[in-house]
Amino acid sequence: MARVTRAGYKRLPGWGPRRTGLFSGVGTRCRLYLGRDHILAVDSHWLSEDYKRFYFSDIQAIVTRKTKRWIGEAVVVVLVAACMTGFSLLLLGRSRPMGGFWMGLSLMLVLYLIYHLLRGPTCACHVVTAIQEDLLPTVNRLRISRKVVPLLKSAVEQAQGTLNAEEMAAAPIEKGPRYADLERNGARGSTGQGTAASRANGYRGWAHLIAFCLILSDGVLTAVDLATHHMPSLMSFSVFLTAAYCIFIILALVKQRNKVDFDKPRIATWASLAFICVSFCLSYVVMVYAMAIGVMRRPNLVASEWDITWAMLRLSPHSSPFLMAIYGFEAICCLALGGLGLAAVLRWRRTVVARPAAHLTGEGMIAS
């Protein structure tokens, strides 16, 4: 039973973040309310609220789409939890508190996984009006959509009446403001020529592909180095990989500028840049640590930059739990970012770039 607020709004089930960027979704929580003549979407930030109203008389359609986000999320959580569990088991023999900490983290991930699976399959629900198409972030699970969409439907039908198939089939097709606006913005064109802008600049995601492949390779190398006996030659190769993916991430950031329909690869690229910054800070810490160890053991041997670099490369992660934790963090981040980024770019290439030309014209399909 939906709760009615003091202002006469009926609160609808579900909540969700409105994701508009990498960090903007963190503090934004969206809720949906049913008013007398409109749907009110409330985006709550910490100390303020933003409101969006969809009047029943303006709503043309409600489009619900099943998504595979829940499977992807579950797979990522399982992989990260498995990595963390393996890592914690490796650490437990050396440092009990550090191992316990990582074990605790993996347990939290498992609990999240159970909660995530209990919530069921995901979906995306859009409200379509004459001038816009807006996502309802609260209706992000099929179970919630089964409760919310019928309520919205009955409210809209009460205001507008019902629409039958004959009326729809007989109506002539015309391009309205929403269509024109979407077409102008390139990727959002409802004719399916959404990627007009993407096609125009000819970029097919090669910089992103190379960058994410390099990050994934670096993750694999670090994981191998962690699992086996430390090999300085392997780590020197990893340093070259790091330099290469830094260059390609910068290239990718330039290439993705003003690119439409590119949300997920864009987020992965920015997340990779954030990871590179963190990684450089950690490398500095490792360098100071290596210098301290080197100077303490052989003060006459650490004389130049090359000596420091060599001391860093020879430093085995197995020598201390602190280094083990840093290597573990880098390996997990590289594997997760590389894998997710690669999946996002491949998916973008499959759905947007390589879309068959037959589907690019919408009018024929409507006529059917």
């Binding site: 202002a7 609160r11 100390l47 001038i131 809209v156 004719t191 399916g192 409507i366």
Partner: protein
Amino acid sequence: MEPIACTACRTTLSVSQFNTGAFFECPSCGVSLKVDAFPALLRGIGPGKAGEAVMGEEASCFYHPGKKAEIACDYCGRFLCSLCDVPLDGKHLCLTCVEAGRKKGRITSLERHRTLYDSAALGLALFPLVAFWLTLVTAPMALYIAIRHWNAPTSVVGRGKGRFVAAIILSGLQIMGWALGIAYFVSSRY
């Protein structure tokens, strides 16, 4: 009728699959979709009214003297032609009243943003408790915000003064605690 596109790949969807109540596959990307369409889809956006010209002794629009008055503004009472009439929440307003209402926050349905002073006051009273010495500064601030903005509107969806009350009680207790602590310190010292 304006076409509806797949929300994943933007391919235009066939109307024969709308309002069936079941999910169908997008012919291009293959995702499962369900479309509930309404009569507004056929209606689209109608053309605006220009207003009729004044004939003889007829009342004219306040803003357009050459046009016939159709209705009076529900807020200011000025006569309006059909071009100047803005229907909003069952009322008929002129553009000046709409603009004034939007700026002064008198028309709730035009509000797009609100600052929640009650949440700010409660946050200031509650979160600094983690580092208790911060409350020396934040408790008076929380009390000031709660009293100063007591009459400020809270969320549009409507919620009571609970947060303000909780902030006042919490910050009051913190201020009392500090006062007692300082008094005890001073009395034990001298």
